[in-house]
Every structure is written in structure tokens, then in C-alpha cells.
């Protein structure tokens, strides 16, 4: 046997050696891809040269004035295109953050509801999920915009605004509510708030620890909240009240001024994205809960935990480990789908970019920058979810 194996161990010829072929194959693929990219790049440069438009590395167009305002922002036409893009970026991030939070809450509730013993609740959740999961998000957004806001009939026309004096004023142009704004730079007080959240969170953990050690209820969330509020109030007083209130009011010409305005476009985009994405999150939640071994629930029951406690303390923490990777996918989808705002006149990053291109900005650079910004947002989202995933993963695996 050993004698027979010896010749087999001798190296095969190069063209049949898997190790050599692998290296050569990879190198060849690399060269082909490299050549392809180089060719595309030179092709781009040639075409750009022959058309006499700015070179693909020239981003100076961003310094020119944008020439138009953006609805609902302070941007003036004389400001630069970069400022306009910044407004768009902030709006995209804002939609993403608010949307992700609302989607998670709604989606998890729906996912739990789908597993409910109550037939009505489970069926409702199921119909909801099937309805929204199988409808394109653009359709959902336009449907919400026209059906709920524009033709919904619950928002009165300009001049007939519904008003709760100094608190709320609503017409078809938007719902304005009493709002807090900073008289000066917002940063000092925001820092105080961040500190208060950190200390409050520390208190929650500490009370939790005491509860686990001593086995008697210590109300950790409540204590944390009290500490946070106390610090927030003391900080506000210490900084001499750095905020002022802006109340909505109806002007003589019937238009609503002041306050913070929630426009129908923003609301429709947000609601549409949340309703659509929540249907996917619900399915992820359901699957993750079902992935937790049945014995876990039975064991918790044997310990005498209530249904709510079992869900909160035993099932969901374990389900979360399964859910996080697919959830982060849905969060990215929500962020990218926010570009559908172009249909309903909400101006965000994609809209700003296509307007810039329509008004003479070089298309290649503008869309390259747009893609890069979406990539940055996506990477940041992935980074955060990966971090959470790492924290939650079962150690030692």
C-alpha cells in the first residue's frame, strides 16, 4: 500500500496542480477585472474629453450656487450646491433613523401578534403582512399620500385650519405643532442630555444587578428615568434655559406659521416606508421566535413566569440573536427605499442630486457621490447592527 501511494504523492504537472491552478485562476481573474476597470475609466475619460464636460475627478461644481430653495428648509438659492446636498443627506438620515425605530416597534408587535393564540389578532397580523409584503413600496407611498392626506379629507384646506391655540394647527399644507428650538448653539445642552442618558442607563444596569442579586423588585427602568429627568431639568436650569418655544398660529392670509411642520409628503413617505418594511420585520420576528427551542418556553413556564415575562426575559432575547442579521438587511432596504420620495415631492438626497444634474452639474460625479453617500449610510448601519450582533452572540461559538 505504501509503495503504491508514493508515486501518487509526487507533484502532478503544473497544469493539473490544483494549488497552481487556483493561484493562476485568481491572478487571471484579477487581471481581467483590472483591465476591464481601466478600460471603462479610459473610455469615460475619452468621452468626457470629446464632449468637453468636466473631468470625472472634478468636483468643483459643488461650490457653485444651487439656484433653488428646498421646501421646508432654510436653504437659499444663493447657497452652494454642497449645502443643498447636505440638506438632502440630513433628511435621508433623518428618515432612516425615525423609520427604523418605528418599523422595529410595529414589526415586532406584528410578528408577536402573528403567533398569538387569539384567532382575530393572528389573522389580522397575517392579512397585514401578506398585503404589504406583496405590494411595491412606491405604490404604498403614493397610495398613502393621495388616499390618506391629499384626498383623505381629514386635513382642511388653507384658511380653514384646525387649531388648538398655541399647540397645534393643521391644514392640507401640514400639521404644525408647538416645538422647542434652541436660542443659541444646541451643543452644550445636547451634551448634557447625552450625559444624562449615560448616567440613567448606568442606574438601570445597577438596579438590575441588585435585583438579580437580591431577588426583590428594584424598578430599574423607573429609577433610571427619574435620574435622567432630574439631570435634564437641572442641566436646563444651569444653562439658563437655552431653549425657546415656537407656537403655530394662523396668519391673516390663512397660512399657518411657526411651530414645527409635519408636511403630508414627509408623513406619507415615512408611513409608507414603515408600513411596508414592518411587514418584513414581522416575518423575521415570527421566524426568530419560532427558532427558539420550545423547551425554553416550557422551562420558563415551569419556573412560574407569566406569559409577558417569558416573552420578554426568555424568548425575545434569544430570538434577537437570530433576528439581527436579517433585520439589518431590512434597515438598509428602508434607507435605500427613501429615494422613492422623488414621486411625491419630498426633497431628499436623490432628489437634490437629480435636480443638480438637471441644472448642469456633471452627471457622473453627482451620481457617484450619491452612491458613495448611500454606501456610507449603509456601512454605518451595518457597523451598528454588527456591533449589537457581536454583543448578543453566544460567547464561545
Amino acid at each position: 500500500m505504501t509503495a503504491a501511494q508514493a508515486p501518487a504523492r509526487a507533484r502532478p504537472p503544473l497544469w493539473r496542480d490544483v494549488r497552481v491552478l487556483r493561484v493562476v485562476g485568481q491572478a487571471a481573474a484579477l487581471v481581467v477585472v483590472g483591465m476591464l476597470l481601466a478600460w471603462l475609466w479610459s473610455n469615460l475619460q475619452n468621452n468626457v474629453d470629446s464632449l468637453g464636460i468636466p473631468a470625472p475627478t472634478d468636483f468643483s461644481y459643488l461650490n457653485q450656487p444651487v439656484g433653488q430653495s428646498i421646501a421646508g428648509s432654510d436653504l437659499r438659492p444663493t447657497q452652494s450646491r454642497l449645502d443643498a446636498l447636505q440638506v438632502g443627506l440630513v433628511r435621508t438620515i433623518q428618515i432612516a433613523i425615525v423609520g427604523i425605530i418605528l418599523t422595529t416597534i410595529l414589526g415586532v408587535l406584528l410578528g408577536i401578534a402573528r403567533l398569538s393564540q387569539n384567532w382575530l389578532v393572528a389573522t389580522f397580523a397575517r392579512i397585514y403582512v401578506e398585503l404589504f409584503r406583496n405590494t411595491p413600496p412606491l405604490v404604498v407611498i403614493i397610495f398613502i399620500y393621495l388616499g390618506m392626506f391629499i384626498n383623505g379629507g381629514f386635513l382642511p384646506r388653507v384658511g380653514d385650519a384646525v387649531e388648538i391655540p398655541n399647540l397645534l394647527a393643521a391644514d392640507i399644507r401640514g400639521i404644525s405643532v408647538l416645538w422647542v428650538s434652541f436660542t443659541d448653539s444646541p451643543w452644550p445642552y445636547l451634551l448634557v442630555l447625552v450625559g444624562a442618558i449615560a448616567v440613567g442607563w448606568g442606574v438601570v444596569r445597577w438596579r438590575n444587578h441588585v435585583q438579580d442579586a437580591q431577588g426583590k423588585p428594584t424598578y430599574p427602568m423607573l429609577s433610571g428615568l427619574v435620574v435622567f429627568l432630574a439631570m435634564a431639568i437641572v442641566g436646563w436650569l444651569a444653562l439658563g434655559g437655552p431653549t425657546e418655544l415656537s407656537a403655530p398660529s394662523v396668519a391673516e392670509n390663512g397660512r399657518v406659521t411657526g411651530g414645527n411642520k409635519l408636511t403630508p409628503e414627509y408623513a406619507a413617505l415615512l408611513i409608507g416606508l414603515v408600513l411596508y418594511t414592518a411587514s418584513h420585520v414581522a416575518e423575521i420576528t415570527r421566524a426568530s421566535i419560532q427558532a427558539v427551542a420550545r423547551g425554553q418556553d416550557e422551562a420558563a413556564k415551569a419556573l412560574g413566569l407569566s406569559a409577558g415575562q417569558r416573552l420578554r426575559k426568555v424568548i425575545l432575547p434569544q430570538a434577537l440573536r437570530v433576528a439581527i442579521p436579517p433585520l439589518s438587511n431590512q434597515y438598509l432596504n428602508l434607507t435605500k427605499n427613501s429615494s422613492l420620495a422623488v414621486a411625491i415631492a419630498y426633497v431628499e438626497m436623490t432628489r437634490v442630486t437629480s435636480d443638480l444634474v438637471a441644472n448642469g452639474a456633471p452627471a457622473f460625479q453627482a451620481f457617484l457621490l450619491l452612491a458613495f453617500l448611500y454606501l456610507l449610510i449603509s456601512l454605518a448601519t451595518a457597523l451598528i447592527t454588527n456591533f449589537i450582533n457581536g454583543r448578543l452572540a453566544i460567547p464561545g461559538r
Binding site: 491552478l21 485562476g25 481573474a29 478600460w39 433653488q68 403614493i142 393621495l146 391629499i150 399644507r173 437629480s354
Partner: protein, 360 residues
């Protein structure tokens, strides 16, 4: 080995992609060259005359300019100019083959010879005359951006619209023009809402979401005609805040065809100036003693029929007027029903911009 097989497949895919991209790239090259260097892509005047009909690039979806009427026939201002050109070239206004074009494809179609003449409410601009390889001829309609407001609103001019919410269609220079116009009027735009398509704007406008709707006046007039509840619910402000001259175009380098098309257009304008209509042209031809009119209608004079050397039949002006009509008739048939006044599109003798060079 299995892994390597996958990789090979990937490389093959890349190669296929590269070929696809290369093909696209080549296309782009040839079209940009076609715009700049090629002498002429379209058929020459002689080959069109030999052919017995010409191809007119148009559309079928813009009320008043080029659309299908209730009986499914082509109608509209641009459509009639296609027919007028046919009448001038062949003495037969039916000798035209209509080709419907998308906005994005219209110049490519002109360059590639898919159409001989483009009459598709296209704005004459420097870059289109230059880079797109088109040759714009006499303007048939002076359009411009306007503002549509509710009939019962207090807005009489842009000055009254400080802080107003304006709806508009995305993707063109409409918003830039709007902001410039507001700045010039000394007021600010409250909100400018750029929508993807007019149907959504109409819904939003009717619900009171915006105070005004800005677009080209001719387009606004079309929307107004079909306004739900009747056109009397909305009106268009008098101000015009951009220049949009619309007219026919041929491809660069096709000078004979360009001259022929241009003079077919002038025929309609000159006829209105002479007071000649499709109804009275026969009578005037039989009775007129005015040498200018006799020359214009291609009648025998001492020394024979006047031939300016445009390559057109001697009676081409007569054929255009007899078969299609003069400028005023074409305007009244197609644009007046939209609720648009003659305005700057009046004859120069009435203080407008419509002016034909002398025919002699």
C-alpha cells in the same frame, strides 16, 4: 476544481458584461460623432422629392400641439405644420408619414435619419443647435413658463405670491426659472414642490396643497382645458418667465431641406399678413392685382413665374394656404381652444413676434 469552475463562469460573465458595455460605449461614440462631424444624416431635399413623401417626427399625446382627436385622427398645431410642409413640397398635405417620438429620443431620431423633419414642440437652444446636431428653423410658437392659479384667488401677478407654495414637474430648469422670477419680483417662494408627474400635481393642486402650478404656458393651457370641474376654475397669470421658442428642426448640413421647410413655415405667416385664408385664397388668386400677392401665389407675370430657387414648386405658397391655412387659422384651430391668447404670437404688424421675410 468546482470552485474554480465557478470562478471561470464569473470571468466569462465579466467578459460578457465587458462586451455589452463596449457595445454601448461604441454606440455613444458614434452618436456624439454623428452630432458634431457628419455632414448630413437625413435625406436630401432631392431624394425626399423623388420619394413622394417625407417623415415628420412628432407625438400623439399633447393636447393642442400633437394629439389624436375624438375620431382618432391626428390633430394639433405641430401636426398641421407637418402637413403644411408636405403641401409645400409635394402639393399634397397628406404626403407625410408621422413618426411618434419620445422626448429623450427625438434628436437621435433626427440625426439617424429616422425622421426628416422634427416638429415636436421642441425648444430652440444654443446647445441643441450646436451639440445635438439639429438645425432649428423659423419659430412657430413662442412659449414660456407661466403660472396657473385658482380663478377665485387674489393672485394677479407674481408680486402677490410671496410665501406661496408652488407645484412643478421635476427634472428640468423649471424650478430655477421660478426662483429667478420670484427674486426679480422681489418676493420669496414659500415652498417649491417638485412632483414626478402632472397627474399627482393636479390631485395635490385640487386638494389645495399648492397655491400655484408652474410649467410652460402651452402645457398649462392644456391642463386647464381638461381641468376637472371645468377650465373656468383656474386661470393663468399674464407673466411669462422663461423663453421657450418652439419650431421645426432638420439635421445639420441639410441646407436645401432646411430652406424649403423654413419657407413653408413663412408661407403661413405671410398669408396671414396678406389677409389670405384657405377660404378666400382662390378668390384672391383670381382677382388680385397686387404684384406682391400675385408673386406670392405663383401666378404668371411678365417674364414668367417667379422662382426664388428654393427647389419648391412655383405654387407652394398657394398649396400651403389652400390645404392647411394661414398662421392665424392654424393657431385658432389648435391653440385658441386651449384658452391661450395670441399674445407674443401675434403678427409683427399687431405688435407680436410672427414675422416672415419678404418673398421676392
Amino acid at each position: 476544481m468546482k470552485q474554480f469552475g465557478k470562478r471561470a463562469a464569473l470571468v466569462a460573465l465579466m467578459a460578457a458584461l465587458a462586451i455589452g458595455v463596449a457595445a454601448c460605449g461604441d454606440d455613444d461614440d458614434s452618436s456624439s460623432d454623428g452630432g458634431g462631424d457628419t455632414a448630413s444624416a437625413g435625406a436630401s431635399l432631392q431624394s425626399i422629392l423623388d420619394n413622394g413623401s417625407f417623415k415628420c417626427g412628432t407625438r400623439d399625446d399633447l393636447a393642442g400641439f400633437a394629439a389624436l382627436d375624438a375620431s382618432g385622427e391626428r390633430a394639433g398645431f405641430d401636426t398641421e405644420y407637418c402637413r403644411a410642409i408636405a403641401a409645400a413640397l409635394f402639393g399634397d398635405s397628406e404626403a407625410v408619414e408621422f413618426v411618434d417620438l419620445q422626448t429623450a429620443d427625438r434628436f437621435t431620431a433626427l440625426q439617424s435619419g429616422e425622421v426628416d423633419v422634427l416638429v415636436r414642440n421642441t425648444t430652440w437652444t444654443g446647445s441643441r443647435d450646436g451639440g445635438e446636431g439639429a438645425n432649428f428653423l423659423a419659430t412657430t410658437f413662442y412659449d414660456g413658463q407661466g403660472m396657473l392659479v385658482s380663478a377665485d384667488s387674489d393672485f394677479q401677478s407674481l408680486k402677490d405670491m410671496d410665501g406661496a407654495t408652488i407645484c412643478l414637474t421635476e427634472g428640468t430648469t423649471t424650478q430655477l426659472n421660478l426662483e429667478d422670477a420670484f427674486t426679480n419680483a422681489g418676493v420669496n417662494v414659500g415652498e417649491a414642490l417638485p412632483f414626478a408627474d402632472p397627474e399627482l400635481i393636479q390631485e395635490a393642486y385640487n386638494a389645495g396643497r399648492c397655491d400655484g402650478w408652474t410649467a410652460d404656458r402651452s402645457a398649462l393651457a392644456g391642463f386647464r382645458t381638461n381641468w376637472p370641474g371645468g377650465p373656468e376654475n383656474v386661470r393663468i397669470l399674464d407673466e411669462t418667465f422663461s423663453k421657450e421658442p418652439l419650431g421645426p428642426a432638420v439635421s445639420d448640413g441639410n441646407d436645401d431641406l432646411a430652406q424649403a421647410v423654413e419657407w413653408a413655415v413663412f408661407a403661413t405667416m405671410q398669408a396671414e399678413e396678406f389677409g389670405i385664408t384657405s377660404a378666400n385664397v382662390d378668390q384672391i388668386r383670381d382677382t388680385s392685382e397686387d404684384p406682391n400677392i400675385r408673386r406670392f401665389l405663383g401666378l404668371e407675370e411678365e417674364g414668367g413665374t417667379f422662382d426664388p430657387g428654393l427647389g419648391l414648386p412655383a405654387d407652394f405658397n398657394y398649396q400651403v394656404i389652400k390645404q392647411v391655412g394661414n398662421y392665424g387659422e392654424i393657431f385658432e384651430r389648435n391653440i385658441t381652444p386651449l384658452g391661450l391668447e395670441r399674445g407674443v404670437n401675434a403678427l409683427w404688424t399687431d405688435g407680436g413676434l410672427i414675422y416672415a421675410p419678404p418673398y421676392r
